[in-house]
Structures are given as C-alpha cells and as structure tokens.
C-alpha cells in the first residue's frame, strides 16, 4: 500500500480534534436519526428511492433530454458537459462574456469534483469566487479540503476557526461560536450583494418539469439563487429523476439521514428562470439561468452492470456517519472530494481508478452502511468488486498469490501447514496466546495478543456423535478455520448442546476454508474452487442441517456460494441444497432446543453483536434469549453492535485503524462491569480477547455455545 495513505492514516488517528469530533458526532447521530424517522417506514421509503433512482439511471440519456427541453421551455439555458473540463470552460466563458468580477457559490460537490474554483481564478479575470456555506468558507479560507460530504469542517475546533476568521477580517476574534457565525454573516453578506453571478449545485433534477431541488440550512442557497442577476447551476446526471412526485420520497429521507432533520430549513425548487434585481437596482424580468448538466464519468458508471447501483446514491453521507473506519480517520484520508464507502466507489469513476483501488483497503466489511443507506446500495459488495478488479488489473503480490492458489485450494497441504505452525509458534506462546512475534510479523501483535494455534484441532477431537435416546435429526458441523484450528473448545461445546437437543452430529473431514479470504483479497477463482470442495464434502454426509458457529462462514455458504455459481446451473443447484440446510448456532438452538434445561449461571455478561451475525444474518435476539434462559445477568454495553475492528485480513493490513476501533470497543465493554463478554463469532473473539489480554484485563470472552454448554443440566 502506498505510504502516502499510511501516513494520512497515522496523522488522522493522532489528530485528537478529528477523532473527538467525529466520534462524538457518530454517537449522537444514530439516536437523532432514529428520532427523525419516528413514525416513518424507512424500509418502504428506501425501496421507493431505489426504484426511482435505478429507473432514472437506466433512462439517464432520455431523462437528460427531457430535462433539457423542459428547462429551456421555462427560460433557462442548458449546457450538456461531457467532461469536467467542458463544464469549466463553459462557466469560464460566461464569466468573461459578462465581465463578472465577483462570484458567490453555495455548496456543490460537483464543482469540487472538477476543482472549479481554481480553474476560474486561473483562467478568467474574476477576482473572487467565494464559498458561502459556513463550513465550506472556513475550508476555503484555510486552503484545506472538506473532510465530510455534509459537514466539511467537522474536523476543526472553534479556536482554529477564530484564528482563520481573525486573519481574514484583520481583527482579534474570540473563539465564541455565535460571534464567529455573526462575523461570517456580515462578511459574506457584502459578497452576496456585490456578486454578479451565483453558482449552486442541486440535490435533485426533475426531467418531467425541468425542476432543480436544493436543500440548505443556512439560507445561502436561497441568497445565491436570488440575489445575483446571473445564476449557474452545476448538476451531475445522477441527480436526474423522472417525475415531480419522485421528489417526495427523496426529500423524506435525505435530511433525516444526513443531519437527522425532518426537512432542511430551506428547500428550493426552481423550474426555470425567475425575475431578479440587477446590481443597479433595476428589475430584470427573466434573469439568466444556466444549467450545466455534467456527465464526467456518470454514463460510464451507468453502463457498468454492477456499479450502476452506485447512481442510486442521494449523497446523504450516512454511510460515512455509521462507518467505524470513517469515525476514526475522517475524510482527509480518502484524499478526494467524495469520502467514505460511497466515496471509494465514486472516486473510481469520477476521479481515478488507481486511487480507489488503494482506498478500498480501508473497508472493514462490517456491512453497517448497507443497513442505513437510503438508496439501498450494497456498498460492501461494490467495494469487494472494486477490490477484485484492482487485483485483476495490478496483480497480487507473489507471496499472497502463491498461498491462495497453491496452498488454500489444497486442503491437506493447508491443514498440515497449520499443524506445523502450531509447533513453530511454541517459543512465543504464553498460556494460550501469542503476545509477541519476531521481526516483520510484529505488527500483528501490536496492541493485541494472538491466540495460539491449537495442537489438537477440532477435527481430531470430535467425529460422529449420537445423542442419548431418540435421534431427532442429523446435523453436519461446519467448523471454519478458526473454529477448527484455534478454538476447538467452542466446537466441543456446540457438540454437547446439539447432542443434548437430540441431534446426531457429524464432522465431514474434507471440509475446508469457506473461501472468504480469497474473495476479499480479490481472487474469486480460488473462492470458487473452495466452494466446490466444501459442497462435495457436505453432500456426502446426507444430513438434515448444517450448523456452524461462525457467522461469516454461514453467510458465505448460504449466500455467496449461490452467487459464485449464478452462471453454472448444475453447481448452482447443488449450492442451493447446501444453502437451504445452513443454520447459525443460536437460531438452531432457539428453534430446536426448547426442551433444554439449564442450571442458573448467575454470571454478569455483556453481549457483543458481530457485524455479520447481526447485519448479514439478522440474528441478535436469539443469543440474548438463550443466555437469559441460562440464567446470566445481561447488561447491554454502549454500541453493542459497533464493529470490533477485526474484518478478517483487515487487522493485518490496517493494524492502526483496527486497533483504534478495538480500543473503543474495550472501553464500552469495561464500562458495563461485566465479568464475561459473550459473542457469536470466532473472528470477533480473536480480536477482542486479544485486545483484552494485551491490556491485562480480566474479562473472559466466551462463545454463546460455551456458556450454554456450561449451564446445561446433565
């Protein structure tokens, strides 16, 4: 990975203002958003938005033409810019033709995307292009880049703002927010009144009526579109929708998701040119209104069968607000105008594919953004696809490739290497964990101990196991790599509970890695090979159910395998049979284990929701109910479903971010005062138990299966 990105990450993590402000905002955001959506059906609304926007993306060209005709009928001039360069040249020409000396702007991401201000200052005689959104103005004055799509200056303190404004206005200003806002009002007011041209963006463009919809809070949008006698709107093709009524659902969601408001203070819908008053005070019946409808990569995106989904984005930035990585590092690390998860995708098409290829590494795949996106975009899937394409283009480092292709697909070799590792690690093992690794492996154990590889994996400990009494059903146990070679005790506990439920349990010996590491590293061929091996191994046993403790493995076997074989009907049919039998442990026990009898455990427990168990599988109630049945006292922690920062190979590639996220989790766990942390994911266990151990904390981390096995009445 480029060292620039690494440096940016370290700078961001060490910036207390930034992590403080973002962290506080991240925590306040969710409850506020929840409140704003009270009485609304978010799922229904986002379904509608997804329909509206995907329909618009399909028909982009036709809608663009319809928009153009309508807007021109209403007295606006529409210019279709193929590229950012064409858009810039057009606007520069307008400035020169009208001899404009002073321009005011209200927030427009499209203009930032093409670096419009710079261009106008260099290529025309304009003296000033002033941003008027308060956050944007702050950023403009100090020559920085916005760190967030909706809140560009969120990383700055009032002290810094006071310094910047003092310099701008040649006076000594106190760091008092109300006073600073007043200074901005007065300074910018002057600029509004003398500007001959206003440039704005738009949030929605309606083809049916040629209407542009703009949302602002400060009132600068209304001033920009009202006071100067010339108005230029720069809008990307992705803002188009077909019908005026399509505005409804988008306006219901955008402010709620963006800033937890029911509506922004001002919403302006402009359908053509309106009267204005020119600089000399004369009324102009129809002012000049220019709409620059910009493509700049959007058509290319639309033509991509997978990435066209990203055009459903309404730029609410909730995918940033709920992202654990963004909360730690902020937008500057992403290095471009569009930040966060969606930013990674947009950067690929609107700026640079290479850059995006680097950025996709920042994604933990915690799936959280997917649950909140009002455009119903499957961002994690798009990022994996970006990863795959990057690898395809640039190739994978040789060592990695060798491991994936030669080792991972050869189960016997793979497993015998793991066994060798269990011997090789011996000198570094203390108790059951590895605290320090030598040389270049040391990053792995930074802030986190690693669990030791067991010397007796689960496959050597269990086999076929029958219950006392009548067999209710036959179950295959799918262990997953961590469950097999690192945490065999969890599997043994699961066996005990399953037997007690009357299940016959078998361990198909040819089962192997589910393939997720290969998919994540961008080697789908390897993942497909592993899928076939697992399907074959599981078919042989002819069971009623396949149970696993690992939510990621279940997601992969239940869902991803179907995708792997979407163009291969024979394998697809086999994958479907396996998929139908896959169940996660807590759901299986909740459903088939009603008769289980427990002794009261009476331990105080707090529960961590793993990203994949909660968001990918939708399971979070079942383990809590089971644990309560087993008699524990359950205390919920703050942010119980916040990611722990593991993310598979992520904790190896991005150890600094991973650790920062882990630290927060550990604080929340400790604050509950519980003795035991319960969870349902071996990956989370590796991450959190490692972190607790490194910090010398005395909190045990147990899988739900282990606690149930402990409580079960013999």
């Amino acid at each position: 990975m480029a060292t620039v990105l690494k440096n940016e990450i370290n700078n961001a993590l060490n910036n207390d203002n930034l992590t403080g402000a973002l962290g506080r905002f991240g925590e306040a955001y969710l409850p506020a958003r929840e409140k704003a959506y009270e009485g609304k059906d978010f799922e229904a609304t986002r379904e509608k938005i997804a329909q509206i926007k995907s329909h618009a993306a399909e028909n982009m060209e036709a809608l663009a033409q319809q928009f153009l005709a309508q807007a021109e009928k209403n007295g606006a001039k529409v210019f279709r810019a193929k590229t950012g360069q064409e858009a810039k040249e057009y606007i520069a020409k307008l400035i020169t033709e009208h001899n404009v000396k002073s321009v005011i702007k209200s927030k427009s991401m499209a203009s930032e995307e093409i670096h419009l201000n710079d261009y106008l200052l260099k290529n025309t005689d304009v003296n000033e292009v002033a941003e008027t959104d308060l956050g944007e103005w702050i950023i403009q004055l100090c020559g920085q880049r916005p760190s967030h799509m909706v809140m560009p200056a969120i990383h700055m303190t009032r002290g810094e703002v006071a310094e910047i404004f003092s310099k701008e206005t040649n006076q000594q200003l106190e760091p008092d927010i109300a006073k600073l806002v007043k200074v901005a009002r007065e300074n910018l007011r002057e600029k509004f009144l003398k500007a001959k041209m206003g440039i704005s963006g738009a949030n929605i463009a309606v083809a049916e009526t040629g209407t542009l919809v703009m949302c602002t809070n400060e009132g600068n949008g209304r001033l920009t579109t009202t006071v100067p006698p010339i108005h230029v709107v720069l809008v990307g093709l992705e803002k188009l929708v077909a019908k005026f009524e399509d505005v409804g659902p988008i306006l219901e969601a955008l402010p709620r998701s963006a800033t937890a408001q029911k509506l922004t203070t001002y919403v302006t819908m402009m359908s053509g040119s309106t009267p204005a008053i020119d600089l000399d005070g004369n009324i102009v019946e129809q002012k000049e209104m220019h709409i620059v409808l910009m493509d700049n990569g959007r058509t290319e995106m639309r033509e991509d069968p997978l990435f066209k989904q990203a055009l459903q984005c309404i730029r609410c930035a909730s995918c940033l607000n709920v992202c654990p990585v963004f909360q730690k590092v902020g937008g500057h690390v992403y290095g471009d105008v569009y930040t966060g998860g969606i930013g990674t995708i947009l950067t690929a098409f609107l700026n640079s594919f290479e850059k995006a290829g680097e950025l996709q590494n920042l994604c933990l795949r915690c799936e959280r953004c997917k649950a909140y996106c009002p455009g119903k975009i499957d961002l994690p899937a798009l990022i994996t696809e970006l990863r795959r394409r990057t690898v395809k283009k640039e190739g994978m480092p040789l060592g990695q490739k060798l491991i994936l292709e030669k080792v991972l697909t050869n189960r016997k070799l793979f497993h015998s290497l793991i066994r060798t590792a269990s011997v090789a690690q011996k000198p570094f093992v203390k108790g059951n964990t590895i605290r320090h690794l030598p040389l270049f492996f040391s990053g792995l154990t930074e802030g986190r101990s690693l669990p030791a590889v067991t010397d007796k994996p689960l496959r050597d400990r269990v086999g076929r196991s029958v219950p006392k009494g009548k067999v209710k059903a036959r179950v295959a146990y799918y262990a997953g790599c961590l469950g097999d070679f690192v945490y065999p005790e969890q599997g043994e506990a699961a066996y005990k509970v399953l037997n007690k439920m009357g299940m016959e349990v078998v361990f198909p010996l040819e089962q192997t890695c589910c393939g997720i590491p290969a998919s994540q590293m961008g080697a789908p061929e390897v993942a497909v090979k592993l899928a076939k091996q697992n399907i074959e191994a599981l078919e042989k046993e002819n069971v009623d159910y396949i149970v696993s403790l690992c939510p990621t493995c279940i997601e992969v076997l239940k869902h991803h395998y179907l995708d792997h074989f979407k163009d291969d009907p024979a394998w697809r049919a086999r994958a479907e049979k396996i998929s139908a039998k896959m169940v996660d442990f807590p759901s299986f026990v909740a459903q088939h284990g009603q008769d289980l009898q427990f002794n009261k455990l009476s331990t105080s427990v707090t529960y961590h929701d793993s990203c994949h168990m909660k968001r990918a599988l939708g399971v979070w109630q079942e383990p809590r109910e089971l644990l309560t049945k087993a008699g524990v006292t359950l205390t919920e922690m703050k942010g119980c479903d916040d990611c722990c920062g593991f993310g598979g190979s992520y904790s190896i590639k991005m150890p600094e971010i991973s650790k920062a996220i882990l630290d927060k989790k550990i604080t929340n766990i400790e604050d509950t005062g519980a003795n035991v942390l319960a969870l349902d994911c071996p990956g989370c266990k590796m991450q959190i138990a490692g972190g607790l151990d490194a910090k010398g904390k005395n909190i045990r981390v147990r899988h739900t299966a282990e606690l149930l096995a402990e409580a079960i009445k013999e």
Binding site: M151, I177, R185, E218, F244, L263, V267, M270
Partner: protein
Amino acid sequence: MTAVQDKAEKSYNEATGAALYDRFKASAELLSAEVHRAANMEEARQLVTQIIKDLDTPKVVYAPSELMDTLDVKSIGQAAGVTMTAENLRQQAADAGLGISQLDYAIAEIGTLAGNANSIESRMVSILPPIHMAVIRTKNILPNLLETIATYNEKLGELPRYLTFVSGPSRTSDIERVLTIGVHGPGRLIIVFID
C-alpha cells in the same frame, strides 16, 4: 378557486381543523419558529401592529400579494410609525429590520411553510432582513410533506418557477456541530395564521 386550494380546504375541514394547527405549532416551535394565530382580519391587523411595535425597528419591507393587500400591511406599518417599503429591495431589504411576505401552505407534521416565491420581492424580503414574518391562511394547513408534493403534482402546469419551503429560522452546525440560529437568512421566523 384552484384545485390546489380546493384540496387544502378539504383536508382542513374534514378531519382535523384545530388538530392540524396544533400539530403545526408544536412542530414549528421545535424549530424555534414563533407561531401566532388571528381569528379574523381585524385581529390580524392588531397582532401585526403589536409585533411591529415590539420589534422597534425603523424600516420594514414587504412583498405585495393578495393577502398583504387584504391585510393592508402598508397602512398598518405606517400607523405604527415605521417606514414601509416594497421597492428597490436590493438596497432596502438589506438594512430593513423586518421583512413580511405571504406563504401559501403550512405542513403540520414538520412545521414547514411552502409557497410560490416567483416574485423577486417575496424572496428578497424573506431572506435578507434579520427577521421574517410569514403570513398565511389557517385553512391552508396540509398534513404532511408527501401530501404537499402531491398537491402541487396535481397541477404541474401551475407549478411555480420558484417554489420555496421554509422550516424555522436559518441555522448552521458547521462549527463543532453546535447549533447556531441565524446565519445567512433570518434569525427569527414569526408566523401569523389568519383564520
């Protein structure tokens, strides 16, 4: 009467009359708007006179419109001893203490006002002065945003070229996420309903 008004009237009468007003008032006050109501024109004149007097500002700008004329806002202001103007608004509105304009609809659920702002006067007086007074008929309260959009959607041919929605006074949270009222637009929004 246009179809749009017709629909508003119906939804007002049918269920909800007072309930809609109460709901609007509660939602708008959450956004720091000030909400008043007058039973008739005469009461409205007294109310507006009182507000202007309390503000103690020498200059008030207003945007001529049907309701402004019926209210005769110009005479009211002059009687209260302030300079009332509706002209040369680029200059006049910039240093006036109050701007008065009419809006067409109120949205109960979210405390928002909506209306045709094609006239440059209505836009100048509602955005430049530090205080905006919006005058609106009580019968024009609609229940929610989607119905408001639907109302305009029924008569797309009559869609105003500049349709505006206002929810409370101008605000920002751009510095340290601290909410501050009154940035570029007015810092106070006074809403007067006339039955």
